[in-house]
Every structure is written in C-alpha cells, then in structure tokens.
C-alpha cells in the first residue's frame, strides 16, 4: 500500500523514514506474524509507519523492493536456505522475528535425535522427505536485529519499527524476567512449588507466563550474564529432576550454548 501523505511525516521537525517492509515465513507456526495482525487497537498507527510490500499471510501483492525483512521461522531445508539468502541480498535490515528465527525455537527439538532418519521414519514411515537439522536464521545469514519470544510481544515489534523509523537505537532488556515478575507483584513460582526459568531468561515479555502463575520456559533465551549453571543447581536443590530442568532449558533452543558447554 502506497500513500504519499505520510511520506511527509515528521517527529520534532525531523522527517521520518518510512521503510518498506516485507514479512517472510520459514518453518514456523506463523504465530509471530499473527501477533502483528493481532494488534487491532494499534494496527493503523503501525501501518502508517511502514510500507508493507510483502506479507504473504495477509496480502496478494508482493515485491522484492523492501528495506526491512522480518524473518519468521527456522531453517530446515535447502530451498529455505536459498530463499533466505535471496532475501538477505534485498534487505538492508534483516530482523529475526521470534524464537524460531532467533534460536530454532521448538523446532530444534528434533535436533536432539542424532539420527535424522529415525525422525523422518517416526512421522513419514518409509516415504522419503527432505529435511535438515534445524538452524537459526543467524546460522545461515547475518542478522541485524533479534526480536525474541514465542510468540513475540507486539509492543516490542512496534517499538522496534518505530525506532527504526525515528532513527533511534533499539534497546532490549539485558536483565532477566524475574525483574519484571517481581514488579508485577506475582507470587514466585518456586514458592508455589513450580519450576521457572525467569531468573535466567531475558526480560521484555513483562513476565508473561509467571503473570498467569505458569513457570517461564525460557522462550526468549538467556539474559546477558545469565547464571545458568548455578540456577540449575538451585532447581535441583528445590527437588526438580535433572530431566525436567533439561527439558525446560532445551525447549526453545535459547540455552543451547549452555547445554552444549556442559557435554
């Protein structure tokens, strides 16, 4: 959609940059894109900041003329690698949108099995299917910005886009979810006898899960300087099984480096 009038938008007298954006999905549930369509109350303001030129889930027109490419999903097949590389060439800014794009998301759980053939057989029997170990977007091309979460928080996406339009830097919290959880005055999940990765997971979701009295599963990956090793020890001391702790840490792929380091 092209509109001329908003090309003259300004902030504090400074002309605003109205980027052309494209949304592209790879192996994923498409939920992160949906989060953007799901922001009924702010959708119009959001759309006036950018020019959406490609968004297959919502529109028929498409174009290769975009400056920001939002990549949703992880990379699991060769044709995806090719498509992703082409998008990287066209885009000035490539954004990894959501946990799948940032770390492989739940999809990378299949990487647990050393034998990909077993995985294929479990689902498709003897029928041949094409698949590779799941990779995060940055394992294939350079990523300029990561927006974490499964799903992403629409406020974070909006803020990032606004900041690009304004020319303001984008800051994501470096501290863990606990900080937000306490600010929301939740009862700590550990007091309720439940597991929670809030102490090591990057904040920014406004402690979405603990607000619902559900422990954090670490979908946003580790906070800067996350003390994962000691947290594991704490969880074990609180009576949680090694397995349950591992299942959590490996669920969204964000803590893969910490799990590898241990082996």
């Amino acid at each position: 959609m092209k509109t001329k009038e908003s090309d003259t938008k300004t902030y504090l007298g400074m002309p605003l940059y109205r980027p052309k954006v494209g949304f592209f999905e790879f192996s994923s549930c498409e939920g992160c894109q949906l989060q953007i369509v799901n922001n009924e109350s702010t959708l119009l303001d959001f759309l006036s900041l950018v020019e959406v030129v490609s968004f297959r889930e919502a529109m028929t027109e498409k174009s290769d003329d975009y400056e920001i490419a939002f990549i949703e999903g992880s990379i699991t097949r060769d044709d995806e690698v090719k498509r992703l590389k082409r998008i990287r060439k066209n885009a000035k800014i490539l954004v990894a949108l959501g946990s799948c794009a940032c770390f492989g998301g739940v999809n990378q759980l299949k990487n647990r099995f050393k034998n990909l053939n077993w995985v294929k057989k479990e689902v498709y029997g003897r029928h041949p299917v094409d698949t590779e170990p799941v990779r995060a977007v940055e394992d294939v091309v350079k990523v300029d910005l990561k927006i974490y979460g499964c799903p992403v928080k629409k406020e974070e996406v909006e803020k990032s886009v606004l900041h690009i339009a304004l020319g303001k830097s984008i800051e994501i919290p470096k501290y863990p979810v606990c900080m937000e959880c306490k600010a929301n005055e939740n009862i700590c999940l550990f007091d309720l006898g439940e597991l929670c990765l809030g102490p090591v997971t990057r904040a920014g979701c406004n402690s979405w899960c603990p607000n619902s009295r559900a422990g954090c599963w670490g979908c946003r990956g580790p906070a800067d300087d996350a003390n994962v090793e000691y947290m594991k020890k704490i969880m074990k001391e609180k009576g949680f099984s090694e397995e349950a702790i591992l299942e959590r840490l490996e669920c969204f792929g964000g803590f893969a480096d910490f799990l590898k380091r241990k082996k």
Partner: protein, 302 residues
C-alpha cells in the same frame, strides 16, 4: 466531622520556598532551548550552541566551569554533558558532543533551530576563584577538552588573576584535535599551549607522544614555590588522568589542588537514580569535579 483525609497538594506547598535546590518543582524543570548553531569539529564531535528561549530564565541561568547539564530531546532521550563555554555568558551554552549512542546520534541529525530541553546546571565545578594568584595547569586528553574549555575561557577572561597558565592537550591523532580554530586565540593571551598527538600523520609538524611527556618538561627543574602554588585541572579518560595525577604527585603538587572530572552513567543528575554512584558517592552531586585526594578515597573510581 467526617473522618476524611484531605489531599495534600505538594505543588501548592512548595510555592513558599525559594531555594532552588529544595524546590520540588525544579526536579523536572526543563528550560526550553533553541539550538542556535551547529558546528562540526571532527567526524565524531560537534559543537552545539544552545540558548534558553525565555528571556527571564536566560538572565537567571548561571553556572561555574566544570558543571554539567542534562540535555533532553523529548521521546528520544536525555544525557549529561559538560558545559563547554564561558561562564560569563548567561543563558547560552556550548556543548561539545561526541556521537556515542542513542541520543547523541540523533542529535547529529538535528539542525539549527531545533528545540531541545536542558536541565541544570548540576554538580560541582572547578574552584576557579580559589586558584587566583596561582599557576594553573590545564591538562586535557581527547574529548576531555570539552569540559576544560570552560575553565580555559575563565582563565583567558581573568588572565591577570593567574600567574603562569599552561594548557596541555593530547589526542590520538591530528584528526582528533578539537577546537583547532581557537588555538591562536588561546596563545595570544599569554597562555602556553602545548599540543601533542600519539600518532602523527604526514602533515603534522608538532610534538608526538603523551601529554605526560610535556608535563615532565614543564615541571622538571622548577622551584618549590612553583610546585606549592600550582593548581591542576585534568580532564580525559581515566587512564590518562591516573598517570598525569601520579606525575603531578611526584612533584609534590598537593592532591587537593588537582581536579579531575569523572564520567558515569546518569539518569537524573540530582542524586536520586544512583546510576552514577562511585562506591556510594553520587558523581552528580559530589562531582563530577573531584579533587584527586577524594578520588583516591573513592572505591572503584579509577
């Protein structure tokens, strides 16, 4: 009587007070100001002249060299900057700003005529009057010349109050030199200006080395009278002022006569947010200008 609490309006209450630092309303008081000129110094640094719009406020605005301001662009951010101009000009300041992050990069795009907000002045300054009748050493490294430019202006305007005045300015390379257009003017007022770069380029004809090299030359072989009656102001990166101050100390210049300006993260400028604390001293209130003795006693200062 109904047992009902009455709302206490603190704004109405504080009207009675007049001392600015105790005035509740001063906390978020912003002087709406206009950027009246923008002059790029190097690729990274630009000098902005900023004038308070309201004439009354302009008249009342005073500061001492070494103090800083909080500069705000609504919605973009706010950050502390040393005032880099003469204290005798009221209601108009010059800030020398390096592109370093969010606000400063945005500022680089702002042109003449932009409306910005300033709060302050905050913090301690260099005790210029105390230095009257003494020798002064003004030593800057890199961007440290920005805060030093205000005491230099003071020394220039009050030249007769001081004995020997030496400016030592060192940078990485000639391309980093700030305020090159002012060097002649500074020298003219019987101020010894020494410039030194760490790495010369083919066009460079001046000295090459560290500012301590020059300092050594100036200090060696002087009389005790010189050492005892000398003040030093040192601005620059921590490593630099550490070495300079150590050297000054070996010549027995009293630590309480050496002044440095510290930089920390700041979100309020008024001793509330704690982000600037060194050990547990507020840089924004007890500093940014500290004498070297105090700095030595601060945990984690250097």
């Amino acid at each position: 009587m109904k047992p009902e609490l009455k709302f206490v309006d603190v704004i109405a209450q504080q009207q009675r007070r007049h001392k600015r630092k105790n005035d509740l309303a001063c906390f978020e008081h912003t002087f709406r100001s206009e950027v009246t000129s923008v002059y790029p110094l190097t690729e990274m640094e630009t000098i902005y002249r900023i004038q308070i719009i309201d004439p009354e406020e302009r008249k009342r605005f005073r500061f001492i060299p070494g103090q800083f301001l909080m500069l705000e662009l609504p919605g973009i951010g706010e950050a502390p900057f040393s005032i880099s101009s003469s204290p005798s000009i009221h209601g108009e300041v010059e800030l020398c700003i390096r592109k370093a992050g969010n606000l400063t990069n945005y500022l680089a795009k702002v042109g003449r005529g932009a409306i910005v907000g300033i709060r302050g002045p905050f913090g301690t300054g260099f005790p210029m009057e105390e230095m009257h009748g003494q020798n002064i050493l003004l030593i800057a490294g890199g961007l440290g010349l920005a805060p030093l430019r205000s005491p230099i202006a003071y020394a220039q305007e009050n030249r007769s109050h001081f004995r020997e005045v030496n400016i030592i300015y060192g940078t990485k390379s000639p391309a980093n030199l700030l305020f090159t257009y002012q060097y002649d003017m500074w020298s003219r007022d019987d101020i010894n200006l020494h410039i030194i770069v760490e790495k010369a380029d083919p066009s460079w004809k001046g000295a090459v080395g560290l500012s301590t090299d020059i300092l050594m030359k100036i200090l060696s072989g002087r009389s005790d009278d010189f050492y005892h009656n000398t003040y030093a102001i040192v601005c620059g990166p921590p490593v630099m002022f550490k070495f300079v101050c150590k050297m000054l100390n070996t010549f027995h210049i009293p630590m309480q006569k050496m002044f440095v300006s510290l930089e920390r993260r700041m979100h309020c400028g008024m001793g509330k947010c704690c982000r600037c604390n060194v050990g547990s001293t507020y840089t924004c209130i007890k500093g940014p200008v500290f004498d070297y003795w105090t700095v030595m006693n601060l945990k984690e200062a250097i």
